[in-house]
């Protein structure tokens, strides 16, 4: 069963005179206990997609102009303020990149966690409840840490505290938006291991937003690749990494150096990432695509299911999977 389901979501953004169509016809469903990764670069709309789930986007300037987001058969886009409050934190909760920005510098760790608990349960929270949450995210010496202020903690421990707060109401879906990006490599792997463990222990689903395919490979069951406001490829992690069919996915996989495996020139993707909402006509990736055909600049490709569960937005996917493409710049 799906923990949450996005159907044909459209989101517009008003920027002075223009209306930018930042997300178009996006569909994504996340099953209970599933870890799905949304991969994309700046301006691809991945964070906006995640924030849309419980409408954490200021409208205006944004506007939901189509689609549904279904939780328990109810559409989030039609919910009242009170209904939204009831699902925020309980059904979907968030962890962001900078733990420092999510923590209040003048409150101790214990005080902040109690505040979150109070928000979700009516009664007063106790030290035991705080300790239980800190142990859940594996913070050593919870009794001591409870009385610390955030600045005394390292980035990794701060992120664990933020995670504890996000888990306070036992959400069905945890959204981790670049939650390990700012952490050191050795700490990043610790947090990824913790996320997997929490999924198993609490039975929650995770939507992990990242630009790092190594993170995806480490943790995700399924992956959706976003480019310029659209999903361009989606499928089981292993399939997608071993047999990417969209030229952009292939480019992403080939352009990162890998330990012990790369020499000489890297296969860069030419050009630049388009700005949020200012997307090219036709296939949005065509100006940077090594396989672009004459009609790619005019024809908008659909997301098609090529094999069960593997979706691709490129009518020429057969070319990319057999041919090596034109020489890149």
């Amino acid at each position: 069963m799906a923990a949450i389901e996005i159907r044909n979501l459209r989101l517009d953004l008003r920027e002075s005179e223009n209306v930018l169509r930042v997300i178009e016809n996006l569909s994504l469903s996340i099953d209970e206990e599933e870890i799905v990764s949304l991969v994309g670069e700046s301006g691809s709309g991945k964070s906006l997609t995640a924030l849309s789930l419980v409408r954490l986007i200021a409208c205006p300037p944004a506007r939901f102009s189509g689609g549904e987001i279904l939780v328990d058969g109810r559409d989030v886009l039609q919910m009242t303020k009170a209904e939204l409050r009831a699902i925020r934190g309980r059904v979907v909760s968030y962890v962001f990149q900078e733990p420092g920005a999510s923590l209040n510098p003048v409150l101790t760790v214990g005080q902040q966690i109690k505040e979150v608990l109070r928000l979700h349960c009516s009664e007063e929270a106790r030290d035991e409840d705080v300790g239980r949450l800190l142990r859940l995210v594996k913070i050593p010496d919870p009794q001591l840490r409870m009385n610390d202020y955030p600045y005394r903690l390292s980035g990794g421990v701060q992120q664990r505290v933020v995670l504890a707060m996000a888990l306070a109401a036992r959400p069905r879906l945890l959204v981790a938006d670049e939650a390990t990006t700012a952490l050191d490599a050795t700490v990043q792997t610790q947090i990824l291991d913790l996320l997997k463990e929490l999924r198993d222990k609490l039975g929650m689903a995770i939507l992990l937003i990242t630009h790092h395919l190594g993170v995806v490979r480490d943790i995700a069951d399924r992956v959706a690749v976003m480019y310029a406001g659209q999903i361009v490829e989606m499928g089981p992690t292993k399939t997608l990494l071993l047999r990417p069919l969209h030229p952009y996915t292939r480019g992403l996989i080939e352009c990162v150096p890998r330990l012990g495996a790369t020499a000489g020139h890297l296969r860069a993707i030419p050009g630049q990432v388009p700005r949020l909402g200012s997307y090219p006509q036709g296939c949005r990736f065509h100006p940077r695509c090594a396989w672009a055909q004459s009609d790619c600049s005019t024809r908008e490709p659909d997301l098609e299911e090529i094999e069960p569960g593997h979706w691709v937005r490129c009518p020429y996917w057969k070319l990319t999977s057999t041919d090596t493409g034109h020489e890149h710049r």
Binding site: V157, T189, Q190, H212, C255, V256, A263, R267, A268
Partner: protein
Amino acid sequence: MALLEVRRLAVQFPIGERLFRTAKRVLRAVDDVSFEIHSGESMGLVGESGCGKTTLGRAVVRLSEAVSGSISFEGEDITALKCSTLRSRRQRFQMVFQDSHSSLNPRMTVEEIIGEAIEIHRLARTREVRRHRVIALLEQVGLDATHLRHYPHQFSGGQRQRIGIARALAVQPKLIVCDEPVSALDVSVQAQIINLLRDLQQSRGIAYLFISHDLAVVEHFSHRMMVMYLGKVVEIGDTKRICQTPRHPYTQALISAVLDIDPHSKRRRIVLSGEPPSPISPPSGCPFHPRCPIAEDRCRSTAPELRQVSEDHQVACHLA
């Protein structure tokens, strides 16, 4: 003779207020670091946040002052050079920063930004000559004359990084310190910049001190590399050798933490307990011992010195 020779370099920052009668406390950001870079070579520098990479890079180009040790460039000791002489030497070593947003003056056009470097070093006699030089530089980094009158905010992150590189190239340096030059860029654009830096190395024989927290990028880019932990170099030498047979337990952990994208790859993951300690109160003995999976008694009391373990490969570990 090495192009750059750094000997026992130390950089410290004062911390807090100087308290009544107590000695001033210091943070040892770079502690007794020695290495050399040969002309046309790239030296990678990796390590976790706060270990002193940026501070070391800035000290090398004399943007931070050393408290002890020496830096020689082409055989000349530049550690104590004063302003005017230093300025003329700066022609030969430049720095490219991570954050192209704050390192390019937002009120200057591209022509002015790159032209300024040419001006300071009096490398062009007339405006016309200067403009031609700027255009030639832009073309070398994949931009062109149409960009002359644009301001930094009109460019993408990758393009701004190209402008920063063009500015560094303007004075025809022999060494460029690149501090996380691709970390702020979109992944699809990172490879363009890495390729550009490599091409420039090949065509102009530029040497790099290449700072990154991404070990895979460093392995790809550098001939030699060093690993820093808490202000100290714990392993240094030939890049391939270090990545294939890392000898320091910290380097081993760093390598095991690289997340590969190949679903078939299986790497032994070394889980370090805890997190980097604060450089304000570094541990006794080996700085890594509180997190080290194999630490013994002597690691807690005696700091290991760098020693040779094979050709061009040195490690600071009692047990390596």
